[in-house]
């Protein structure tokens, strides 16, 4: 509560600081604004930063440590007999105290000593809140006074503000990078834990995937991920066989043949396809496509299961078409008109020009688009979970039920799980493989695009 008020106060003071700084700069200049080193608004920002930044930092540091500090202070008031207990029961006692303090019913009537500690806790909390409010406001005010006093004709406010801005931007990008690194590291450590129980060779080359069996017996034999990899590969290949030709042809039509009117309609419509949630595609695949496949298959004399790689792959391909077409359309449009003119000038027809000149020139971009589409297909979960099933079959038959890496991750992690069973940990092994594969694909795609960019011109 107090920290909400403090945030409001600091923001108010920051605004006040900006106005004060600006007016101070105008006053100092005394009508000769052009003689100021920096324009008044920079002085305003300078004071505002001094008002806001230290106070916010205080708030951040304070809220990190406040709860822990107060809880241990409250625990310190407990009788010695209680404090002698081992670490685990101490944690339990602490939880109890916090529950009582927050008014959560614990069932039985709490001991008086705990109730006392809870009261101390609450008291300390409100005291700390007021301290923080007072200290924060004081710091903001002090910042304003300090900064305002520095304002003079020659004060290099602009340089200082720009410097703070660039530091802020660096911090933002650091957050993005460090988060990614953190995710990768946590993935890596959990995966290492998994591989200490299941040998990595068994995982990567084993042909049998049945994590449920791990509970009843041999853990090592049930985590062969090859059926998942082949399932992923099968569905991705089917999806690409649909998406790449159709998407590429659509892109060629839109950029080379379509009248401006047709293009203005077709392009947004195709891009709407990309905006449909994958869940919707998923139940379309499961409820419409899979039965249709069954009918079609039995008509042709195949034995088609009610869930099939074909149904999931086809629908996923349709989902990815706009990816391929939109990106390819952009790169085809980027091919200079001069190249087309050159080709037409030699008497080439439209299709010759597209085949021989435009597509080769646009090829790097198209390859990049396809690579991105592949990583999208590999990562897709919902459609496969709904339409292709959960059974890990090692098969190349597109009409059989298969499962993919992502579907296994999703189905394993949902619900309550013990986080140290090999079944749960297997998710991190799969995640790591998935991460490495898509990373490689993305790096290759970026490389291809960069290497051939600006080849013309």
């Amino acid at each position: 509560m107090q920290s909400t008020i403090l945030i409001a106060v600091i923001m108010g003071l920051t605004l006040v600081g900006y106005l004060l700084g600006r007016s101070r700069a105008v006053a100092v200049a005394g009508g000769r604004l052009s003689h100021l080193h920096s324009i008044p608004s920079y002085h305003g920002f300078f004071v505002a930063i001094w008002a806001g930044l230290p106070a916010f930092l205080l708030l951040a540091v304070w809220s990190c440590f406040q709860d822990q500090l107060i809880a241990s202070l409250a625990m310190a008031g407990l009788p010695d007999t209680v404090r002698q207990a081992d670490a685990q029961s101490l944690t339990l006692i602490k939880t109890n105290i916090l529950n009582i303090a927050h008014g959560i019913a614990t069932g039985s009537e709490p001991e008086p000593s705990l109730r006392e500690a809870a009261a101390t806790y609450n008291q300390l909390q409100s005291l700390a809140g007021f301290c923080l409010l007072a200290l924060g406001s004081a710091l903001a005010l002090a910042g304003i006074v300090h900064a305002r006093r520095q304002i003079s004709m020659d004060m290099r406010a602009r340089n200082r503000v720009e410097r703070m801005l660039s530091i802020g931007l660096v911090l933002c990008s650091l957050v993005a990078i460090l988060t990614t690194v953190g995710i990768v590291l946590s993935l890596l450590f959990e995966a290492i834990q998994f591989f200490s129980r299941v040998p990595i060779t068994d995982f990567l080359f084993g042909l049998h995937w049945n994590p449920q069996a791990a509970f009843s017996g041999d853990a090592a034999g049930s985590f062969g991920a090859v059926p998942l990899f082949t399932g992923t590969l099968l569905i991705t290949v089917i999806a690409m066989l649909v998406a790449v030709p159709i998407g590429l042809m659509a892109a060629i039509y839109m950029s080379e043949y379509a009248t401006p009117g047709a293009r203005a309609v077709a392009k947004p419509v195709l891009e709407i396809l990309a905006g449909i949630p994958t869940v919707v595609y998923g139940f379309f695949a499961a409820l419409t496509m899979a039965p249709a496949m069954q009918v079609l298959g039995s008509g042709l004399g195949f034995d088609v299961s009610s869930q099939s790689a074909m149904a999931a792959g086809l629908v996923m391909g349709i989902m990815i078409i706009p990816f391929v077409s939109s990106l390819s359309d952009d790169v085809i449009n980027a091919v200079p008109q001069a190249l087309r003119d050159g080709s037409y000038g030699l008497g080439a027809t439209k299709s010759e020009t597209i085949r021989e000149i435009v597509l080769p020139a646009a090829l790097p971009g198209i390859v990049g688009a396809v690579m991105l589409a592949i990583s999208r297909a590999i990562g897709e979960t919902m459609i496969v979970a709904m339409a292709a099933g959960l059974s890990a079959n090692l098969t190349a038959n597109p009409f059989a039920a298969v499962t993919t890496v992502t579907v296994q991750i999703a189905s394993t992690i949902r619900g309550d799980q013990e986080f140290d069973s090999p079944k749960t940990l297997s998710v991190f092994g799969l995640g790591l493989v998935l991460f490495v594969v898509t990373l490689i694909l993305n790096v290759v795609a970026l490389r291809v695009v960069q290497k051939y960019r600006e080849k013309y011109d």
Partner: protein, 266 residues
Amino acid sequence: MRIDHSDWLPGGNGPPVKITARAVNVYYGAKQALNDIGLDIESNRVTALIGPSGCGKSTFLRCLNRMNDTIDICRIEGRIALDGEDIYDKVIDTVQLRARVGMVFQKPNPFPKSIFDNIAYGPRIHGLAQRGPEMDEIVQSSLERAGLWNEVKDRLKEPGTGLSGGQQQRLCIARAIAVSPEVILMDEPCSALDPIATAHIEELIDELRENYTIVIVTHNMQQAARVSQKTAFFHLGNMVEYNDTEEIFTNPRDERTQGYITGRFG
């Protein structure tokens, strides 16, 4: 000079006429870009089209091989004949027309292919030759005629985009020659080149005149005077004057022509 619109088929004395244009009007949407143009382009001569920017000389050039067909809003009236045959007739195939009337553009635009494939592209799509010694022969003779062979004979497999600007433009000329055209249209072929490369190309144009009819658009009046035998002066979509180059530059009949070539406007 009066243009007689009934004079449809080329004939009479004087040098043989390759292209005849009569009453050509060109519109971009509602805007008229060319106004009643009529002129005869003589065989195995260099004809220069000069005039200030936006006067319609490039538009006229692009009418001669129907390159304007690729622009949706462009509409053309009047008649243009190549060897007496109306090129805007329905039976004319633009593919064949452009094989007979080649084009070199303002900015060198080699294809992102090897030097060899840049030249071989045209002959291949027209079925003049496939791979093999026949194609090697065409590539070599085209590059020789464009004066580029000695510079590139050891690097035919390298990309054409790796050449210098002047070499690229000569590559584009060689590419046009490779399909054995009768007419070569050049749209300011030297405007992106340095003076040395320009001199090279001008020399080349002079040599090419022996075998081809050349129409060149240029901003550079010295260039027009150096390379051409006939010059047409365009102004605001009209053809103001058309005559022997020497006459145009020494004794212009029209005030506007005189103003332009002496640098008073344009």
